[in-house]
Symmetry: C2
Subunit: 597 residues, 2 copies
């Protein structure tokens, strides 16, 4: 098994050179940081991953999780990782000093998360969820909730979850039916079922705290009547004792992948003794939850990149060792077979993997920078950063996961029959990554968000900002002889893209939402493709500078080759996509359902 | 769980209307058949599948196979299916009367196989392998081998396998090292290891007969020194008794999918007591094996179509029942949620599935017809049928499997989180189908075969014949007002395609095999896309005729809608592919291996 799952050199290149994390240090909010401190975060993430995560990747999958006599068991390493990262202060590192954090830039936080997740995507899931759930309490909960629940979660002692989905409300949260009835104390009686709750129960954890969406009796219909509650498995009584809170696990889901990451079906209030504590105000739950969901969406995209990274290195090692076949020009069967990495078609599959892994990792760090700037900066810069972050969030969720699946599939394919076998981790990674286009809103949902909401918000301001950013990079690249050709190529696609946008926006203005949104999914693929093209151009401008200094030539020339791959092999897909997007036959609009038989 | 896995109505439409199986009945070879007899074959395949295969699909996966104390156990239904289909005469039905068969057209044989395989792809694998292995003996073996081994295999009493792959010889068969040393009797002493041997051992089977590639001592290097042997697990002694033949199972492979279909690692001759019986002449083994491999390649393509078909119907049933969300034009949360099949993006994913399943099924039947004609006809017709079959074989192997994977993935996606869970068969089918781009030569190997061998053979005659066939359908479609637009579209792509071909062929003529073949994989995708476009046009010409007779309007109008989907959403991918194929930067050619780090 490969011992590498991610390139730290690449992460540092992205952080320092491409996305210039030191821009952040000029702001008072991040003034305590410097490049060395950031590197330490990344290096220690690798060290931790090598010791505590990667060695358990396969074991956690094979051992799986169990549910017996109402009790859920997971691999013991799960709780150890949560504890250790809690102890190390990783879960609340990005919070402000006032909130108890150390104001760690998200750029560093996500870089570290890429490392952890590439090492063991299921194993780190519990920690990410706990941090996200605790952040919700910190942001919107009262002091008591923070002190009673969030603290233990940040310490990695209590597990946190997000409990949204119900049997009849998955993609459509407006149809949530879990009930909350006010009581005479500060609590509400909660009753309902929640399904697909990751990390929802396991016996190692001292407690599990579910950030739960429910509807207060008499609340308005739809999304405007949803409230957010802290619903612990064990509630903290006034005397500090823990009392069973009538949250039980009805069962666990048996899944394609992420076998070490438990997914539960929870029953709340079957005995009418489940108490939930309101977070913030009534009926504001979905708005609050979106804070966590937006972060979770970036993190799911990050998971896609990370799993693809692990698959890339696992397959690369195989291809650099395995000998099979000969070049078309040398059919001499007496000659030694070549390493399979030398076959053009195998190289194509590796360049595809590398272009997706490193292109999408770059986008993750880009998003993290906008997130950091939206906190640290002010005025127009703050506003623009937030707009760009909002626009890029569905993209960084959907594109790296959809392409990540293909990327891992290419990795598996490179191993031939061995790729299909458990002797190598590819088949596991292929199973694991498949969830990422479903978690936290399917690609279809992300695409509706992108086209229907983000592209149009503030009169299209975010979209204009993004296009401006991309054109700025194109212009810079145009000044470099070796990149002019590629800059022109991206520019011509972007010009066409704007025409496609114009056509779609006119449908929106004409009050034709069905036609406008029918191919949102393809619009996502198109936009994602261009956005990753932008990230590659951005990386290679820097790589060419560095190459002049003749430092680590192979690393930088590899970047240039991968850009060439991406621009020649991936960008042309935009042509077909734009063709479809301007077609107005409306093939997929509901006409007669019977057409599908 | 859905109770449907394939459309019999569609198969009959393809057999009778689109591909006109009754053309065959005019030839003496098939003169005993008529439409009713063909329908009986298909109907009884469905009946058998409903009883003996489909009910065990999930069970075989969950129960898996086991290897303990040197013994392999599989689900008991495996041997029952082999027995019953052997008894029913299915395994040798397509052989000539002289060979003991009933001269069943392959069109009917493959239609039945589509049914069986859609019902339970792993479960039927054992039977297909046995038939293929026995055919090899029938075609090239002596009377004794036929009588001693093939007969029992056709009866479904003994299991057959193809034993080619070795630890150091997978895609590259020229590097096979298993040894065969002549003895004083008719047998050869065999010694070597074979891996990835499907159906290679299980205790229910009375015997297992391995059609094995090995190298006779002193044979020429490479593919010219490979011979084919019958290597039974138990050899038949002169007195008819069975004797252990020193073939042992060293282990089984644990795989991503097809958990009920055992894959073994075999040791032959560890105690120097393994006897193999030469099939045909020495050093002709690879040529013989290609008969089986060509059939197996069509059957793997067929497996891709079949699994995608099962996934299509399983997901369709879900989407027609599950309600979630509302149309973009109706956000009223008090309204009842719509069935998810009504969402444009979900419809797109279903049209994609249907277009692949039914388009590729049509190609399978088309290939079967060329196979039948290559046997029954004579002169130029025979020659052309054979050329077209040879050309289409790598395409029908590669395209339906690559697109089948995406098709099943779309089916899984339509179920949201449930698609990832074992509650529905999608996750299993997603695992099962992933092997199909690896079995019997990866997509890379098929693509080299298509571009490097089949497109150029006989001075490109096969390619010219195919293009002529496609143009004939285009011309016919051009005569129909409703289809003119689509006929023109396919024509314009085909014109461009010929230019791309011209460019590639000139590389071949210039003696640049590396450049010529570098993007063979994309050439395959391009060709497959156009070929399926051809199949859709062919189907819809007939559908429009039938629609005028107003017979089963929904079935035929659904065909037309699906053609529209395919031409608007799938064909435009050709644009990007052709862009790449004419690019001459040579990004993937081996320059410096270090560019991939």
């Amino acid at each position: 098994m490969s011992s590498q799952f991610i390139s730290i050199e690449n992460l540092k290149f992205l952080l320092h050179k491409v996305h210039k994390i030191d821009d952040l240090f000029q702001y008072p909010y991040f003034s305590e940081y410097n490049n060395e401190a950031i590197d330490m975060v990344v290096d220690s993430a690798l060290d931790f991953s090598n010791k505590e995560l990667f060695p358990y990747l396969v074991e956690m999958d094979q051992q799986g999780v169990s549910f017996k006599d109402g009790k859920v068991s997971v691999h013991p390493q799960v709780y150890k990782v949560l504890n250790k990262l809690g102890e190390a202060g990783f879960l609340n590192a990005s919070l402000s000093f006032e909130e108890g954090g150390i104001q760690l830039p998200y750029m560093a936080h996500y870089a570290a998360s890429l490392v952890y997740t590439a090492a063991n995507n299921g194993g780190i899931g519990y920690t990410g969820l706990t941090a996200g759930a605790a952040h919700l309490i910190t942001s919107f909960g009262n002091e008591e909730l923070k002190k009673t629940y969030a603290e233990k979660m940040y310490q990695g002692i209590w597990q946190g979850t997000m409990a949204m989905t119900e049997p009849e409300a998955g993609s459509s949260l407006s149809d949530i039916t879990t009930k909350a009835i006010p009581t005479e104390t500060s609590g509400y009686k909660i009753s309902g079922q929640k399904i697909f709750i990751s990390g929802g129960d396991y016996d190692d954890a001292e407690n599990i705290v579910h950030l739960t969406l429910a509807r207060v009796e008499g609340a308005p219909r739809g999304t405007k009547g949803i409230s957010l509650f802290v619903v612990p498995k064990l509630r903290v009584e006034e005397d500090g004792s823990l009392k069973n809170n009538d949250v039980t696990t009805a069962g666990i889901f048996h899944k394609l992948g992420q076998h070490g990451y438990v997914t539960t079906h929870l029953m709340m209030g079957e005995n009418n003794e489940c108490i939930g504590y309101l977070v913030g105000e009534e009926n504001m739950g979905l708005k609050y939850m979106f804070q966590m969901m937006n972060a979770a969406r970036i993190e799911v995209g990050l998971t896609g990149v990370s799993i693809a990274s692990a698959a890339y290195y696992a397959s690369l090692q195989y291809a650099q060792e395995r000998r099979q076949g000969r070049h078309p020009s040398s059919k001499d069967s007496a000659s030694e077979p070549v390493k399979i990495i030398e076959h053009a078609d195998v190289r194509r599959m590796f360049f595809m993997q590398k272009s997706i892994v490193e292109g999408c990792a770059s986008l993750v760090i880009e998003c993290a920078k906008y997130l950091d700037l939206s906190k640290a900066s002010s005025g127009e810069e703050k506003e623009n950063s937030l707009l760009l972050l909002e626009l890029l969030t569905p993209i960084v969720k959907a594109y790296p996961t959809e392409m990540g699946i293909q990327s891992v599939s290419n990795g598996l394919q490179c191993l031939g029959g061995y790729g299909y076998c458990q002797d190598f981790p590819l088949e596991q990674l292929y199973r694991d990554i498949r969830i990422t286009t479903l978690y936290e809103g399917t690609t279809g949902i992300q695409s509706l968000d992108l086209l229907g909401r983000k592209m149009t918000m503030h009169d299209g301001k975010a979209a204009k900002l993004l296009i401006k950013e991309i054109f700025a990079v194109i212009e810079e690249a145009s000044g470099l002889d070796e990149l002019l050709k590629y800059a022109d190529l991206l520019k011509s696609y972007l010009d066409e893209y704007q025409k496609v946008m114009g056509k779609l926006m006119s449908l929106a203005r004409q009050g034709k939402p069905e036609e406008f949104l029918a191919d949102a999914n393809l619009f996502m693929e198109l936009t994602g493709n261009l956005v990753i093209g932008w990230q590659w151009l951005k990386q290679v401008i820097i790589a060419m500078e560095e190459l002049k200094k003749d430092k680590n030539a192979v690393f930088y020339s590899s970047k240039i080759e991968t850009l060439r791959y991406y621009f020649i092999y991936e960008l042309p897909k935009c042509k077909g996509l734009m063709d479809i997007l301007v077609n107005d036959e409306g093939v997929t609009l509901t006409k007669e359902e019977e057409h599908l038989i």
